[in-house]
């Protein structure tokens, strides 16, 4: 008989891998579709703004080839995020005894923390990558984030403020997703 704890660890690893693949596919397809919508629409200056993703994803461009490159990048990022935010104990809080009709519950607090930290760190990293690259109009588009995040600017101090704001907003969003999801599942399973 296998060690139950080792079995749980293995199953949880598989569960996290599934979360990674799921989120990777979602983000990858998101970038793929967003790019190709612009490619199909055409026009004189296609993807002026979306093309800025190449600052973070080298080789990306708004074209069919670029959409495939973007898919790969976004898949990798999504996979990593999925593994981080995937629940370690998928059925925490579940009350039903019948496993066939039990769905995963989300721990809103853990989700909020994970999503908040991730988006906060992403904002901090993106701002500082742009600062490190230098140039004439550093963070031309990103500086508009200051409209929604008071005090944010494309500078090191601004990246810290951006981190705090997005960590807070990400936490609220993750928490809200957890609350709405768990309430909906409870209702659906009743």
């Amino acid at each position: 008989m296998a060690d139950p704890q080792a079995l749980d660890r293995n199953l949880q690893r598989i569960n996290l891998r599934a979360w990674g693949l799921g989120l990777g596919l979602l983000l990858g397809l998101g970038v793929f579709v967003a790019t190709n919508v612009l490619v199909l629409k055409g026009g004189p200056d296609v993807g002026t703004h979306l093309g800025r993703l190449s600052q973070i994803f080298p080789g990306y461009e708004v074209s069919l080839t670029g959409s495939l490159i973007g898919f790969v990048y976004a898949f990798v990022v999504g996979y990593a995020i999925g593994r981080l935010i995937g629940p370690r104990r998928p059925l925490e809080g579940a009350t039903r005894k019948d496993p066939l009709h039990t769905h995963v519950r989300l721990n809103g607090h853990a989700w909020g923390l994970a999503i908040g930290l991730l988006v906060g760190i992403a904002m901090f990293a993106v701002t500082n990558v742009l600062l490190a690259r230098k140039g004439e109009n550093v963070g031309e588009l990103l500086r508009f984030a200051g409209l929604y995040l008071p005090g944010y600017e494309v500078s090191f101090a601004g990246s810290l403020i951006g981190f705090l704001w997005l960590a807070l907003l990400g936490y609220a969003a993750g928490r809200l997703i957890g609350v709405v999801y768990n309430a909906s599942v409870r209702r659906a399973e009743a």
Partner: protein
């Protein structure tokens, strides 16, 4: 008696596996992600209108994807509808992909275990 005591841990193991492979509820995750996306887009539009009433840039770029969206009060409601739709599809698809991957893993391990069980039989042929 001996069989019953052996069936206990096996049933427990089976139940543990079933619980760890429990699916994410697709519709519920769609509703949850859709609601949060809709609310976020609605609030972002309102904040943009308050802080920069003259220029719709860069939030107005969303009109490239969301037909009818603009940085205005009516646009905020249109954006809310689009946000819910896109968020719902994203949440639903994510749950679908995650459940499918997990189901494939489960099928793979079950098949491998069944094959291992029949190995002894095949040796006798």
């Amino acid at each position: 008696m001996r069989e019953a005591s052996q069936a206990g841990p096996e049933e427990d193991l089976e139940r543990r596996v079933e619980l760890l492979f429990a699916p994410v509820h697709k519709r519920c995750l769609g509703v949850a992600v859709g609601s949060v996306t809709a609310l976020s887009l609605f609030l972002a539009t309102l904040v943009h209108m308050l802080r920069s009433p003259d220029a719709g840039y860069p939030l107005g770029l969303l009109s490239q994807y969301f037909v009818g969206y603009s940085v205005s009060l009516s646009g905020a409601f249109v954006g809310m509808g689009w946000g819910f739709l896109v968020g719902f599809v994203a949440g639903w698809f994510f749950a679908f992909a995650r459940n499918t991957v997990l189901g494939a893993f489960k099928l793979f391990f079950r098949s491998r275990a069944e094959l291992a069980q029949t190995r002894g039989f095949l040796d006798h042929i």
